[in-house]
Symmetry: C2
Subunit: 208 residues, 2 copies
DNA sequence: ACCTGAACACCGTTCAAGT
DNA sequence: ACCTGAACACCGTTCAAGT
């Protein structure tokens, strides 16, 4: 009854290190086995196959986004809801591989859970309930996660075929000042703040 | 001087058909060559390599999103801006493979171009200009594309590990009615409408 | 229970050789 | 200019066999 050389946790640890250091595409069963000093096929006994391995990795990475309640200093309901979104975005961006993991497998729902709880609490505290509250929670969640997804996709892209400037060389009908402004790179942090605030204020102001 | 058996366009045509029918992962150089009735290596002469092939596919699919100006029936500036977002989303959803293509290669900017123009026109018509107008354009664009990206990611996912219900079994502090509401599946179309409208109204109402 | 080694059916890509 | 065939260095996965 020897103690086994390998364990599920050991496999996940090394796999996660590979993904963090060299990306999800660099995670191969053979390479992972080499790093573990073991035959490639040994991994299958512990984690099933590559898909299951990636799924397990996803759960581990997204299971601990931590507490998302905004600092007590934020007082207004709008500012508190925006605060949850802000923290959520930062937590996701702090895990660069999380996005790749999510997208490979479409388990976005897993990532949404803790954020959904935190948002629900704030929205309820703001005096909303029922269907209307659920809509606010979902809208904010979608906005934040979608924003981050897109933000990373744009970052990863090589310089776009036609440079961002070039597209606006011929403004053709569009206000030249606006065209020039759109040609310049923008600050994602600022854009996030402005758009999330606008969304929440619009949601809270709605009649229905 | 025989006419060549293959052409760049023929390669792209068949490649696109494969992606549409069986997904981006099913696009292999060998399989594509088989469909074309040619040696796998012949493809390389016409399109370079697989990455270049995918890039070319992306340009083709996203180059013709078509005109995005909303119907003339929409009159208010807010309704017109929302209209552009609505049309953009529908056009993207009508091309299921477009999202995979985009994400594989991060050329999201390409897709944004025509939408940016249409939005800029509407925002300018609404009387905004300069930096403020640019912010509105970018915020709406990010919201719509991010929403669609997330929407598809959720769709593709297998049933989440803990069912959407299960998560809310123990509401623990959260209003039970809200918890129950969040456990139910929602209508993405409705959520899109509500959130985009709220965002735009919030953006147009902002003081700065 | 846990691990190895060989084997199968794939990949993308390069390159000399043919026409 | 355009295409083939062989070859290289990879993949994920299965499975009988070992301990």
């Amino acid at each position: 009854m020897e103690t086994p050389r390998l364990s599920r946790d050991a496999v996940l640890d090394t796999a996660l290190r590979i993904v963090e250091e060299r990306g999800l595409a660099a995670l191969t069963m053979r390479g992972l086995a080499a790093d573990l000093g073991v035959a490639a096929t040994a991994i299958y006994w512990h984690v099933g196959n590559r898909d299951a391995l990636v799924a397990a990795l996803t759960d581990r990475v997204l299971g601990d986004l931590g507490d998302l309640t905004p600092p007590g200093s934020a007082d207004g309901p709008q500012e508190r809801i925006v605060g949850v979104g802000r923290v959520l975005r930062r937590r996701i961006l702090a895990r660069p591989h999380a996005i790749a993991l999510l997208h490979e497998q479409g388990r976005t729902a897993v990532m949404m859970r803790p954020a959904q709880r935190a948002l629900a609490a704030e929205v309820a505290a703001a005096g909303l309930g029922g269907e209307r509250a659920a809509t606010v929670v979902r809208a904010v969640l979608h906005h934040v996660v979608g924003f981050v997804l897109l933000e990373r996709a744009v970052q990863r892209g090589p310089e776009p075929h036609p440079g961002p400037d070039e597209v606006w060389r011929d403004p053709d009908g569009v206000d030249p000042a606006l065209a020039h402004e759109l040609g310049r790179p923008h600050d994602p942090d600022a854009l996030f703040e402005v758009s999330l605030s606008a969304l929440v204020s619009g949601l809270l102001a709605a009649d229905t």
